[in-house]
């Protein structure tokens, strides 16, 4: 079986190499220019990049960058923070449909797993993890500021996670407003000690 005659290489000056290996022949083509430029380009970029980060240190380190950005975010949060100890403010929020609806959304995505969609938790299903949020018995305090503290800092021993680091202050306050929308200002609060 004779192989077909080799095609002429790109450059007519290029010959087949004299040696064959088990019938395999090799051209000796020049390296394509675009390939060479890619190689040189990546080398040049690497040198510049290394120089910028390691020699000249004009770029901040990853750690410094994150720290700076987190500080910036903390500043934004502080600037727009509300007084979370003001019970009257929470009652106002709980009568505002925009706040309550937003809180309901968050509640439905994160809180229902333990407190159920009815908010009744153990009150509806004894196997549920979270307590009832619509009755007047509270375990960790039933005033708005106490409820906010429970939501934001959690009660780790009981399995309630701290939500403020995840949700931020606004969304946490919305959730509290949603819960309070099921209650009336001035209704009796009993402190329940769980069995």
């Amino acid at each position: 079986m004779n192989p077909p005659p080799p095609l002429p290489p790109d450059d007519p000056g290029i010959k087949l190499r004299p040696h064959t290996y088990d019938g395999i022949q090799e051209f000796d083509q020049r390296l394509p220019n675009w390939w060479l430029y890619t190689l040189y380009g990546t080398i040049a970029f690497s040198i510049v990049y290394w120089f910028a980060y390691m020699t000249a240190s004009v770029m901040p380190t990853d750690q410094a960058q994150v720290d700076a950005e987190m500080a910036k975010l903390a500043a934004i949060r502080l600037a727009s923070s509300i007084d979370v100890t003001n019970d009257a403010l929470f009652w106002d929020l709980s009568r505002n449909p925009v706040f309550v609806d937003a809180g309901k959304q968050t509640f439905n995505s994160l809180c229902v797993a333990c407190h159920l969609a009815s908010l009744k938790g153990k009150g509806e299903n004894p196997a549920a993890v979270g307590p009832n949020l619509v009755d007047q018995a509270w375990i960790h305090g039933g005033t708005p500021k106490e409820i906010y503290a429970t939501v934001s800092k959690g009660v780790l021993v009981k399995g309630m996670p701290a939500w403020e680091p995840v949700l931020g202050q606004k969304k946490s306050a919305e959730v509290v407003a949603f819960v309070l929308s099921h209650h009336q200002k001035g209704e009796p609060i009993t402190i329940e000690v769980p069995k």
């Binding site: 192989p3 077909p4 080799p6 095609l7 087949l16 190499r17 040696h19 290996y21 088990d22 019938g23 395999i24 022949q25 090799e26 051209f27 000796d28 083509q29 020049r30 390296l31 394509p32 390939w35 060479l36 890619t38 190689l39 990546t42 080398i43 970029f45 690497s46 990049y49 290394w50 980060y53 390691m54 020699t55 380190t61 990853d62 750690q63 960058q65 994150v66 950005e69 987190m70 975010l73 934004i76 727009s80 995505s109 994160l110 229902v112 797993a113 333990c114 993890v129 780790l156 021993v157 009981k158 399995g159 996670p161 701290a162 680091p165 995840v166 949700l167 931020g168 606004k170 969304k171």
Partner: protein, 767 residues
Amino acid sequence: MTTGQKTIIEFNDKIVRQFMLAAIIWGAVGMLVGVLIATQLNFWQANFGQAWLSFGRLRPLHTNAVIFAFVGNMMFAGVYYSTQRLAKARLASDFLSSLHFWGWQLIIVAAAVTLPLGLTRGKEYAELIWPINIAVAAIWVVFAVNFFWTLAKRNEKSLYVALWFYIATIITVAMLYIVNHLSLPTSLTHSYPVFGGVQDALVQWWYGHNAVAFFLTTPILGIMYYFLPKAAGRPVYSYRLSVIHFWSLVFLYIWAGPHHLLNTALPNWLQLLAMTFSLMLWAPSWGGMLNGLLTLRGAWGKLRTDPVIKFFAAGVTFYGMATFEGPLLSIKSVNALAHYTDWIIGHVHAGALGWNGFMAAGMFYWLVPRLWNKPLYSQSLANLHFWLGTFGILLYVAAMWASGITQGLMLNATTEGGTILKYPNFLETLNSIRPLMLLRVVGGGLYLTGFLIMAYNVWRSVRGAQAVNGTIEVYVEPREPAEKLSLAGAFLNAPVIFSSLGFLAACIWLFTTGWLNIIGLVGTAFCVLLAIGHFQTRGTAWGEWYDKLLLNALPFTVLTFLSVAVGGLIQIIPMLTIERRLQTEDRVAQVYTPLELAGRDLYVREGCYTCHSQMIRTLVPDVMRYGDYSRLGESIWDHPFQWGSKRNGPDLARVGGKYNDAWHFDHMLDPRAISTGSNMPAYTWLHKSNTDYASLSAKIRVQRTLGVPFPNWSPADIDRIAHDQAKQIAKELREQGRYTDPDKEIVALISYLQTLGKKWEPAGATP
């Protein structure tokens, strides 16, 4: 030229047939496991409630089977077939060949038994336990001896480019495998790696990345250089390109390993080296693709008719795609989005299915008629295999791109002026990619179907066929002394001297400051200019030297070894020699209690690291989601490190204290009871099996030997402390309404999970 003695050599093709058939069988098994675990990501019930079928245990089996059983056996078949013909010599030893084959199959069987049992070292693609590690190293040495002995007996004096790649493969894999598997046993089936924390991470990814390079890439490139021009009947496109891309590839590849650790706590200089060397690797990788595709010029007509050419052309194209994607993913900002997501899974499957799988198929279809002297049973079935396979991979890869980018963007999305995460619940991001994960199962299933069709086709072809061994007539010529390269000749010549001096100067530039730095930079430039000048004027001498080097296998091997070894040495040695306590950033971990250590070993046994990372990167979305970024010192005593490489679930670096013990108790029993929509397996067996207290004293003794500052407890102390802590946790669980025997594994695991992110003190607080 025909002065020598004429003899006829019969090749040992039996070993090629054996390895080929083994590759097909194990390939099918490995891919089947892949389809199963991909299914489990959508349908958690698909593990049938069995510990040994759970994702964390089968994922290592899948990766090990595809890499070492499928590609391994396929590579040995290709290497043994082509080496005999390129060396014009029969394999040196039939005994070693058989030992190699049966030893390797035994190792695979051992892996297939131990991994589902949860016997693991907890490091990716290095999970096999230490007795099997020793067997792998020994069989690899058998392979090496058989190969180099054959080269020593060769009748074709000059080494063809395929053999260069085989040489690089054999020596590099040996080096990587041995270093990354250094362990101290605590029992017959358990050991701890000698490296811990960041050192272990660095060594692991030096190995992991270069297993891809030197197990899945270089041997297959060698196979391409032999089988592709053979099948096409065309000369190789460019010898010059072979030389340049071979040496640049083997030199550069090693340095890129830490790109698996970008944006982590890994020191910045290593991240920079990894990223830049990955970028520089792009052109050398594409050199291999060019030499493959351009060799097909003039043979494109065969693309329509010959399945072999179809598979080779597509395989090389996928290689080009994957090696473009690799550097892209190594750019730190791209990596910030893509790392830990399905994009990486898509990337590796473009390589494994597209490049390895298709090159294997092309080679098998080419070999079958030649090894059994009978035409392939069905060309149509081979074509069907090709189209099913191609469609399957494209579906797989496209689904994974979409999935990875979607989840990456969702995880990074913020709202309210960037102050909070838009999707704080990880499960929201997981559930949005479920349809794409399902498409992946379909794509993988199609690919597997094609592969099974190939298996059937091969079986029908070889059934009842007469196996034939190739023969060749050679003139055995005495070696001429002029061909011999002395040691000095190998090293004292322009290309090697310029490369070495240039490299030395570049290192001075990289790792010094002040005047030395400038001297290094100027020196590097000077060496490059000098080399260019010398090449322009004396280029033919360079070529003549290289032709001569190709006649001398030993100097060639030594130079290859030096090229691959140097990158690892420069990256790893500084990290190993610097005192561990100085590599802590501002925090240093406290040692685990005995019970926590037992829990950690359970975490490793169940393969939790296959879905959960323990590394909060220096990225704002990571910090917002998981807490303060991880410091080196926090994992400094971890043998093995568990930073992870994929987040099918959330990061766990700071999960300790986030939930109460009852949460973990319930969650491990039935994850969906707490996390609606979770795809995590239910680990019911942890609530039934007893914690292995008895092994703790041996484990702690070994960890002390490795430098972990455990107190000098007696075995009785260890037992007492562990039991006391278990009782304490069981008591807390009881207070939370969960009743368990303190000796159950779940208690130990909870003790470990609750320490994550908690056990550190400011660095320098204690000696």
